[in-house]
Amino acid sequence: MKLSGTFTTQASPAQLARLSTEPRQLEQVTSLRDVAVDAHGHIRAIFTAATPLGAIPLTTTIATDRADESSSRVLVRGTRGQHRVDVTLEISYQPTATATQVSWHADVRLGGTGASVAQRVAHDIARNAIDGVLQQAAGQHLTLT
């Protein structure tokens, strides 16, 4: 499943590039809790997705594959029981005169039960989830720094 989105933020590209590696900033995202860094240096958190069936908490690992001031590549894996969501997220940062335009492209792969019935609703859930986390994290960045 290929998803994409764009938004504009006041955060700079350099600030944005650090987003996926700074647990303090991610802690401020309302859909994330229990944010920590694991032994591999990856972020571990509980991400709660809003779905038509209610809130579903996923144990989530966020690994930054590559990040610089022009773009980042982030690998996200969420699991809950026998559900699985793997996301490869490509984020690019384009400075404008007054802000930064963030464009993201996600390759979302569902596994287990998530690939069964949930595939019918996963598109909107995943898109809203990714966009929501990114925008909120970018906005929180301004608050924290």
């Binding site: 026998q82 559900h83 699985r84 596994g111 287990g112 039960t113 690939a115 019918r120």
Partner: protein, 813 residues
Amino acid sequence: MTMQDTATSTWTGKTVPRKEDDRLLKAQGEFGDDTPIAHLGHVVFVRSPYAHARILDIDVSAAESLPGYLGCLLPDEVDVLTDGFMELQPAPADAEVDKCLAAGGKVRFVGEPVVAVAGTSRQAARDVAATVVVDYEPLPHVVDARRAVEPEAPQVHDEIGSNVAWDGVYDWGDIDAALKSADHVIEVDELHFHRFSSTPLECSVVTVSYDAGIDTFNLIGGCAMPQITTLMMAAAMRHPAEKIRIVSKDFGGSFGVKIGMYVPATAVALLSRKLGRPMRWTETRTEHHWMGGHGNERWFHNVKMAVTSEGRVLGLSYDALDDVGAYTRYEPLGAVIWTQVANACYQLQHLKVHYRSIYTNKGPVHPNRGYSRLQHMWLVERMMDIAAHRLGFDPVQFRLQNYVQPEQYPYETVNGCVYDSGNLPLSLEKALDLIEYDDARRLQRESAGTGKRIGIGIGSTLDSGTNNFGQARLINQFLPFSGNTEGGLVRMGVDGSVYTVTGGVAFGQGHETTVAQVVADMLGLTPDEIITHRGSDSALSAQTGFSGSYASQFAVTGIGAILNATRKLVREIQLVAASILGATPEEIVLEGGHALVLGDPERALPFAAVAGIVHFSPADLPAEVADEVGLVGRAVYRAPFEIPDLERKRGNLTLTYASQIHACVLEIDEETGEVKILRYGMVDDCGTPINPMIIQGQVHGATVHGISAALFEHFAYDDDGQLLAANFYDYHAATALDLPSLRYDSVVSPSPFTPIGAKGMGEGGGAPLHAIAAAIQDAVGGDGGVVLESFNPPERILGLLNGGTESTVRVLR
């Protein structure tokens, strides 16, 4: 034994309403989830969302604080407590390790159980399962058997060294010479038989109560093969088989796939023992689609058929890749089962098949209605059709000419199997009558240019029944199996009531009724007066090692055992009555619930009196009679088989061959590719019928299954190894709304080899796959593509209308 042995045939052969339907239609049946058990815990499996992955960590800590959490079973525990399930294949693939939870620290298909959790309710167990966190390291996976045999393919089982579970060549006759000398040779690069399953109404349910006092596991659940299942579990759990008891009550369908229940049942048993309370696992539909057992998916390559200029088919050769999924849970028996019908319906003289069973990262296959045979027969039937079209023969005449002819029975096939009886030409004639063949051709002509295309197809298939288990030695010479037996028990209770217990496990076939019919005839009673034990109980003496319901055999083995058992009871009744009535046993006949002296109806003893004397007043009997008579007849039926010739891979592998000849008329919408079946005719020949209504019901069921498989049902996987149809939203099993009114007729060719001339039946689900593929081809015509797939949804039919497969089919001469 012949029909005459059933004293009279008042009931045998008659349409008698099913005895079991009274309770089933009133919702008074007792299926797996119905049995009330005190203190019951519920089990839910946490399953793999990956096709292939290493398990890095399992964290169940969050579960421990949840209300209703009882405990869990982890792979590490299973590794300590169990050995791998028995494997049938020889080395090197016997190194496969298969356990009830993911073995060796890896998962090998989406849906494989990793953790079993238990809760005080099913909902609590689900909540617990959702908190279990399993860390996986994804590994390269393979979901296409063609890719799995490449040298660099990811290996499903590292310890084996390849993805080949079994590899062998069958070579009967001289196909090379036939292909060299034949007037015509048709060659097809690749055909594909897809994955689908039986979708029983009731998914699996297993309840296990471990009785610590006697160290015994008591199982309740639909089990199609109880004694083999106890052996599988016993060996894995290192527990005496005698201390595993399996009871089946009402049973909502198996069609072969529930043979694999020993895998989840072992996990449930271990949890029951660990937690000290009864445990139940109720399979969801998604779980069933993931792991409940798919039918064998098979690729056919390098297919060649030799045909004479007169239209006589000499033989064929091909290479088969049989995709068995991640574990060989009944496989690689499929590698030999197909040879029961090596000739299909035809007088083939030469056949050569290179067969390989291949592991992939997909759900394991299980026997599925028509197991392994329908794939081969679909290939043969497809090639018959392609040859007829390409060489310009009329498809009806082409088949008629090549069918095994009525006067040729018993007919020995290329591999030494013996087709017992049949009349295929008459069956085809009747099938064509059912679809009004000439009128259908008229419709076809008139449809030209209307945007609709009419196609007419024929499907010819066989349902081989009553296995010679010696065939297992053809895949592994060391397997200690041969022949076949079934058990049966008939007894007279203290009040003269007659009870029967059969080793078969009915899952909807009406065994209670057919058993009652034949016993009633032998005892001079009515079927209503016969009490047949529901389901099965592995601890009762009615079962033998091969007992169960599979392989189309109950009408032969189950009924045969019951007849033998009833004969013993009859003899005991005769002994008692003769001694009381002052006659010889041979003078005693049974009629209307009495034992009476032939020709002197005044000298009669009611069955209640016979029972009363034996059970309560044995001193009334001569000692030699009282010592011998217990009013219990227990007997086995032994199918007359020999061990096959392992060197030549020859021998008689099944006792009976029911035939199903189907014909259909369908309409294709050129714009959408949608198929509408206009007429469907089915002709069944299963020898002497015991209950025609039950036969007709099973023919309807098998036909709907086959139609559904041909047009709707497909267990496809995506490149990630995810099953694309893991629920009934995506996996459409046909309903009445998808079907025309089915037209039925029958031919009766009694088997000369069975107790009453009956044959096993009910697995004729292959015929619709053949008939529909042929009809689609007929509709597409010569200007379109060639039907090379068994599954043909609208998008594939649109592709056929646009050509595209033409280059893979060649007429070499």
